[in-house]
Each structure stands twice: as C-alpha cells, then as structure tokens.
Amino acid sequence: MIKYLATASLLLAGVSLSIGAALAADPGITDTEIVIGDVEPLTGPPALLGVAASIGHKIAIAEANAAGGINGRKIKYVLEDDGYVTARTIQGVKKVTDVDKAFALLGISGSGQSIAVMPLLEKSGIPTVIDVAPVKFLWEPPRKNVFVVGQSYEEGIIHLVNYLAEKNPGKKWGLITQDDDYGITVRDGFDTVVKARKLNVVYSGNYKKGQQDFSSDMLQLKDSGAEVFLAGGIIGENIAMMKELEKLNIKPVVGIFWPGRVEPVLKLMGPAGDGIYAVDYVEPFAGAAGKAFLEKAKGLLPEAEMKGINRYSMTGYAAAKVLISAIDRCGKQPTWACTIAELEKTKNVETGIMAPISFGPGVRFSNQKLQIMQSEFSTLSFKPVN
C-alpha cells in the first residue's frame, strides 16, 4: 500500500512539475506585463493598410491599459515592419516570438505573408488573431491556435457582384484584376456569380501589379460597351481608372472592393468617384458607429496617428478586442492553452464597428456580415445602401 502511495505521490509530483513547466514555458507574461506582437508593412505602398491596422491594435490596447490592463497586467505592444516582403514577415514573427517573447500575436501583414508564416505559427502554438487580409487558406483547415476576424475576399466579391447584378439586370459587364493572388481571388468570386447568373461579360482585363497608367485598359472597356464595371485595383489603380473613365467621358456603374474603400481615395478621384459601390464588413466612418470609433481613438492616440486611421484600423481594433477579452477571461494566470480555449469560446463579442464576433469548436473564422455602401463625393464618404 505504502509502495502504491509512494508511486502515486511521485506521479502527482511529476504531473505538477510538468504543469508548472508548461506554465513557465508560455512566454511574454510577467507579473506586471503581457507582450502582444505584430508584424505589418509599415513602409512602402502597403503601409496604408499595415499602419492603419497597427493603429487599430494600439487603440484597443490603449483602451484596455487605461482600464487597468488584463487582470492588472499592462499590455506591451511590439510591432515589426516587414515592408510587405514575405521573407521579412517570417523574420519579424521569429523576432517577436523568440526575442521579444510575445504571449500572443495580432496582424499579420498581407494574405501571402500570413500564409507564409502559418507553419511557424502552427509549430510554435502561439495564440494568434489575424485581421488584415482574410483568405480561406488561413482557416481552412482550422488551425488550433490561429483565429481570423473578417470575411473572405471571395465572399465579399460575390456579395458585391450579386448586389450590382440585381440592381442592373441585363447589363454588359467589365472586370479588371491584378495579376497576383489578390486578383485571382477577386476574379474567382466574380466568375462564381457570372456562372450562376449568366452575366454578359464584354471586357475582362488583367494588369500587372504596379501599373500606374490605365489609359489603354479603360479605352478597351469603353470600346466594349460595358455598363457595369468591377474595378479590381487596390488604391492608386482604382483612382487612375476612375480618372481615365472621366477623361473618356463614360460613367458605368462601378464597384470596388474593401481594400480600396478608404476615404482619401474619393478626394483624389474627384467627381468621377461619386456613386461608386463598395462592399465591406466594417461600418463606414460617416455613420454613428464610425464617428464613435474616431471619438474613442482621439482620446487614446497621439494626434499624429489619427491621420493614419482607415477601415483597417477598425478590423485591427476588433481583432485586438477579441484577443484581449480571451486573455482576460483566463484570469490571473493566463496560458496559451487557456487563451486558445477562450478564443474558441468567443461568442457574440461586440466591438461597435462590425457585426458581433464569434468562433467555436473547430471554427476559426468569424465570417463577418457584409454590407454594400455607396460613395458620396460631396461629403467624401461612403454610406450604406439597401
């Protein structure tokens, strides 16, 4: 009997020690601080989304810290620049996990970059909430420790094209996309609706990433007689296309995708940008929710960072809220295992800037509700439409 008790005691001690070791093994947490890491493009053209997303993270973190932190621990935010270069994204993730010892990750950069770091994230097991570029590969198949807030590019395009097709029955369609993974996703979504609704596509263009002059492309569009046009550019490309259409004196019904739905674009498009349709899962800044978000940001951000806010700040804020909330629910001794379990239990978390966020067992994608918006040049804003 004594022998059995001794063996049981030894086993118990062993289990306790291994649990202690596991607790100690989760990095990025001290008695006073929790480290959250992030890697974004902060330089080069994609900085438009990377800087904005990081600002969204900062707002949520500042809000939590102002309220006393996570169970008394202040959140330290470590941000790395990858310049939108995949090799640097991998280096950046290694740096924030191995050197800065991040407890959890937010971000991470663009779709290609997130996909590239996925093996690293899976291997390390660090709780991660991705918010910048939601693509299916990130949640199909579901990875234990990786959660994605947003909506898929493909679903977004399907929603937009379906809406435009319903409003413009029997019209001729035109499409132009970028020659990369982003463009392929846009085209796949478009083709899905074209097949289902048998749309009459009279122009289909494909431009090289970095192209700045769209005069011949838009002339081809005009020549084709397209009446509804899906502009598959991101920022500068869509501006250039709209200006060309204005120069060519045509005004088709135009749809753009959410990466290009940032307000400064409307100013640059001028009157040519009036009435453009867009799809998104975050609220427009012109609405009550958008205004409230900006008000909140004013109190938490330095003045210089306010100008960097755009829709990606909202997605970043929402992701950070979900992560902070999950860590918070783990109580005084949060671990990776608990944080992942709590992220999985996320149910209808309200952020005020998009539909409530939920995950579930085996569900790592929040699948946000989409809405259609239309631009208004006079107020340089997007407004929801029915």
């Binding site: 053209p45 900085a47 800087v51 090289k208 011949s216 081809q220 060519l248 004196n249 640059l268």
Partner: protein
C-alpha cells in the same frame, strides 16, 4: 481611327514622363559613367516636395514649380556631395550598389516624412480635360509633351554650344584628359546630378499632376530605365525619345493586344532593338556595361 488616336495621345503623354526620367538617367551616365538606380526615387522625392509646397506655402503653379526645381537641385547636389563623391575612383559595381542602397533609403523616407496615402497635386492646372471630337486629354498631359520637346531642344543646344555642356561631354569622353585641360570633373559631376534631378523631377511633378502621388511612384524609374537603354544610355536626347517610343508601344499593345501585353510590350521592343543595336538607337558604340 479615334481609338488609335486616343491610344497614341495617351501613350505620348505617359511616354513623355518616362522620357524625362530617362533623360535623368542618361545625364548622369553621360557625365559620370554611372547608372543611378535611385533615379525613380529622386523623381518621387521631388514630386512629394512639390506637393508639400503646394499644401503649405502656396498652390500657385509658379511658386510650386520654382520651389520644386530648387529642391531638386539641392537634392541632386547633396546626393552627389555626401553619397557619390566619396565613391569616386571606387569600382563601378560598388558605386552602383551605393545607388541601390540610396534608392531603398529614399523609398522608405516617404513613409517617415509623409505617409502611405495617395495625394493629389493641385496647382489649379493640369487636370482640366480638353476634348477634340471624342478624344479626351488633360491639360497636364499636353503640357508634359510640350515640356519634353522644349527640354530636348534646350539640352541639345546646351551640349552643343555652351561651355559647360562641352565640358560635360569632355569629362564623359575622357575625364583624365579633361582634367588636364582644366575642367573640374567633380564640378561637372555635381552639375550632372543636379541637372538629372531637375529633369527627372519635372517628370515626377507632371506625373503627380496627371495621376497622383503615392509611395509606389518610384516604379516610374523602372519604366524609364528601359527607355534609356532603348534610346542609348549615353544619349540624353535619345533617352527622351526612347521614353516616347516606350509609352506609345505600351499603349498600342495594351489597346490592341490586351491589358496583359501592356507591361511586356516595352521590354519586348527593347530586346529586339538591343539585338540589332546593343548600344541603343541613339547610343554610341563604346558603352561600358554595368
């Protein structure tokens, strides 16, 4: 015919911008024997400075133009004095690598000094659309074509008749002999960098007028470089004309062969031309390749 004319005019307009930047490449190469891989970035910086002047000092077109020219001169001189002059006498490969490093620094500076958002350069000129029949063209596009042609004439006269122009040609031909003749090579180099910065900067400002400013603007350098190769790396005037040829070819290919061919067409033309004339259409035969 209208379709062709619209493609041609748009091609000339974007080609004129490529041409101006290509001339910037050629001025430096002709005077220093160096390919400046930071040309697109210098073009972008000048355009951003012009935008800053227009939003903070005055939106008057003359104030902005003068300010941008002065800024471009200063930019060219500072780069020559601080970065390039210490590299005099060093291997060409090392010097070229320095210009690549400089390009990365200038490119990143946009986000540090300005931001990643696109901006419009509004000087009350250049955005109005002029219609000739059903063909539309912006005043800024007409102006950039006219500016390129004027500059081509002015630079031809400068190299042909001015003392400094002849000195620059002498340094380009043989800097040691030029030195023996009392010509200061360093002064000529400084002048070349300043002139190159101004000429390319003008292209950048016109691009910002017709399109917009964004951190992606440095890519204009990548489009203008083939124009320089096509016209001749040591041919300033040839580079300007090379830009026009690239612009027209791109647009015609894009308009008749499809969007995907637009970016390829210019390079395809270069391959063909270089197979026949390895030194470019207007270049001299003894170019040192880097």
């Amino acid at each position: 015919m209208q379709y062709f004319m619209q493609l041609l005019i748009s091609g000339l307009a974007i080609g004129a911008i490529y041409g101006l930047i290509a001339m910037g490449f050629a001025v430096i190469y002709k005077s220093t024997g160096l390919v400046n891989f930071a040309q697109g970035e210098m073009t972008m910086i000048t355009a951003y400075i012009a935008w800053t002047i227009s939003t903070t000092v005055s939106g008057n077109v003359f104030v902005v133009a003068l300010g941008a020219i002065v800024a471009a001169v200063v930019l060219g001189l500072v780069i020559e004095r601080v970065v390039m002059r210490p590299m005099l006498g060093e291997p060409v490969f090392a010097t070229v690598m320095v210009t690549i490093g400089l390009a990365v620094i200038l490119r990143s500076s946009i986000n540090f000094i300005w931001d990643a958002y696109p901006h419009g350069l509004d000087v009350g000129f250049g955005r109005t659309i002029v219609r000739i029949g059903s063909i539309g063209v912006r005043t800024g596009q007409i102006a950039v074509i006219a500016t390129l042609l004027l500059l081509l004439a002015a630079i031809w006269a400068f190299f042909r008749y001015s003392k400094i122009g002849v000195a620059m040609r002498a340094v380009a031909a043989d800097d040691r002999t030029a030195l023996l003749m009392g010509i200061s090579a360093t002064r000529v180099h400084a002048l070349a960098w300043a002139a190159s910065s101004v000429i390319a900067g003008i292209g950048g400002v016109f691009f910002a007028l017709s399109y917009d400013l964004s951190p992606a603007m440095f890519q204009l350098g990548l489009k203008a470089f083939p124009a320089t190769i096509l016209g001749g790396l040591d041919a300033v005037l040839g580079s300007g004309l090379g830009g026009l040829l690239i612009g027209i070819t791109e647009n015609l290919a894009g308009g008749y062969l499809g969007s995907g061919m637009k970016e390829v067409a210019g390079f395809a033309m270069i391959i063909v031309v270089l197979m026949v004339r390895p030194f470019g259409i207007f270049g001299e035969r003894d170019i040192e390749r880097v």
